[in-house]
């Protein structure tokens, strides 16, 4: 297990009072797995990512991490508009003090491998939404993380781009053999992309069910065409109480 949540609870404190976001949360991710967490909106999904990355400390229980480097991908690409695509890719290297020739070359190789070569000298504003999200993914990968934390990275895209980008991102993550933890409220996205789907309850969130998904190979497109897709969708929908 590269990451394990053991009886994790988390409570937010604000001046208006306290909110119990998570309680008794248990799950684990093995190396190379693509795991999705779905749950009703506002159930503390993003909190899970912050806890996983160590940005927050659990109020109860513990988050056990193997010695692993984390990469975060957010809802919006957050590319710096004053930097070129290339300079954006180097940002995590600069911030993490890994700005060596080797790391830069590695980042550029990734960019080339995934079709960003012609865009390196362009500003993000010149790119389409899907392309920008791809740059954001390569930026995350540039720092060579072991595990990617994806915080609804497709939700800001229009439907068509979204399908395209989510298959794209899954493909890149799989071919780079990275572990990924995706939080989303989109059931079909979770089924199409993941090896395992974790269903959360409403607040305070705990795990309602875990589903290993293995039909349709590792290809999101094939999976959506499978007969089991609709059945799984219905099952998850029921569990979420929708």
């Amino acid at each position: 297990m590269i990451l394990r949540f053991e009886d994790v609870g988390y409570t937010y404190h604000t001046l208006d009072g306290e909110t119990e976001a998570l309680k008794g949360l248990n799950f684990g991710i093995s190396r190379g797995q693509f795991v999705s967490v779905i749950g009703p909106s506002g159930c503390g999904k993003s909190t899970i990512l912050s806890l996983a990355a160590g940005l927050l400390t659990p109020s109860e229980g513990k988050v056990v991490r193997e010695n692993a480097e984390f990469g975060y991908m957010l809802q919006r690409d957050a590319l710096f508009p004053w930097r070129t695509v290339e300079a954006n890719l180097f940002l995590p290297l600069e911030v993490k003090g890994k700005n060596t020739r080797m790391m830069r070359e590695n980042a550029l190789n990734l960019a080339e491998k995934y079709g960003l070569k012609d865009f390196l000298k362009k500003k993000p504003a010149e790119l389409s939404g899907g392309m920008r999200q791809r740059v954001a993914l390569i930026r995350t990968l540039a720092a060579q993380p072991d595990i990617l934390l994806l915080d609804e990275p497709f939700s800001a895209l229009d439907y068509q781009t979204r399908l395209e980008v989510c298959d794209d991102v899954q493909g890149i993550i799989k071919s780079e053999h990275k572990t990924a933890l995706l939080v989303t409220h989109d059931i079909s996205e979770a089924i199409a992309l993941s090896d395992k789907v974790i269903v959360l309850s409403s607040r305070p969130a705990h795990v309602l069910a875990e589903h290993e998904i293995d039909f349709g190979g590792n290809n999101p497109k094939h999976r959506r065409e499978c007969g089991q897709f609709a059945a799984t969708f219905e099952k998850l929908r029921e569990e979420l109480g929708l």
Binding site: F70, L74, R76, A78, L91, V95, K96
Partner: protein, 265 residues
Amino acid sequence: MKNKNYSAAHAKFLKRNRVRGILINVTRFGLLALVFALWEICAQTELIDPFITSSPSRIAATAAQLYRDGDLFYHIGITLMETLAGFAIAVIVGYAVAVLLYMSDSIRKVFEPYIVVLNSLPKIALGPLIIIWMGTGYTAIIFMTVIVAIIVCIMNTLTGFLSVDKTMLTLMKAMGASKRATLVKLIIPASLPTLINTLKVAVGLSWIGSIMGEYIVSRAGLGYLIVYGGQVFKLDLVMTATIILCILAGGMYGIIALIEKKLTR
């Protein structure tokens, strides 16, 4: 400039745009020329009293006289020096203070009410104090310029810092960036447009500060010429100094606009 082979329709569009630009410029300068011409004619024909209103020709003569006496560039130099020094200090110190206030929430909360009060205080009220503390030399005037401009510099810059995109901040945090790295890599470049705006506002305020300072104290400078001219009823001198001020302030604003163009391209 991706494609030089424009269609006829596009060429027409470009031409119309260019003609419009030329027309606007011609009208602009025409308007100024018209005002000056009317002013001159009215003064010449004594429709208005040139002793009170002066006239373009009298202004030109006064400027030439000042130049012959070696006074013109002396007074311009003094005022320009005071304004630029005050401007530079206000912008640089203001920026540094804004960085400090940004770095610590607590410090910011402590100083917020003071800044708000200082901002609403009419700075000219400090005039007598400044004379007593700093004398009647140009340090007093530079000081006046700084206090007029600096508060707005601090507030503007800080607002710029605080309005940086939250997602980008989260991203930096998720990468484990230090406060310093966040400031250097994100906050400062992201707030560059605000800095330019601050410079533009500070130019205007610096001129207000330096001329106001010269009104209160001073023995030289354009503000001094205006006050002196008013006291001895030499309205030609007042008008001349005012026109020179217009040109200088416009020029300084133009330089900043040029810098903006260079930086944001």
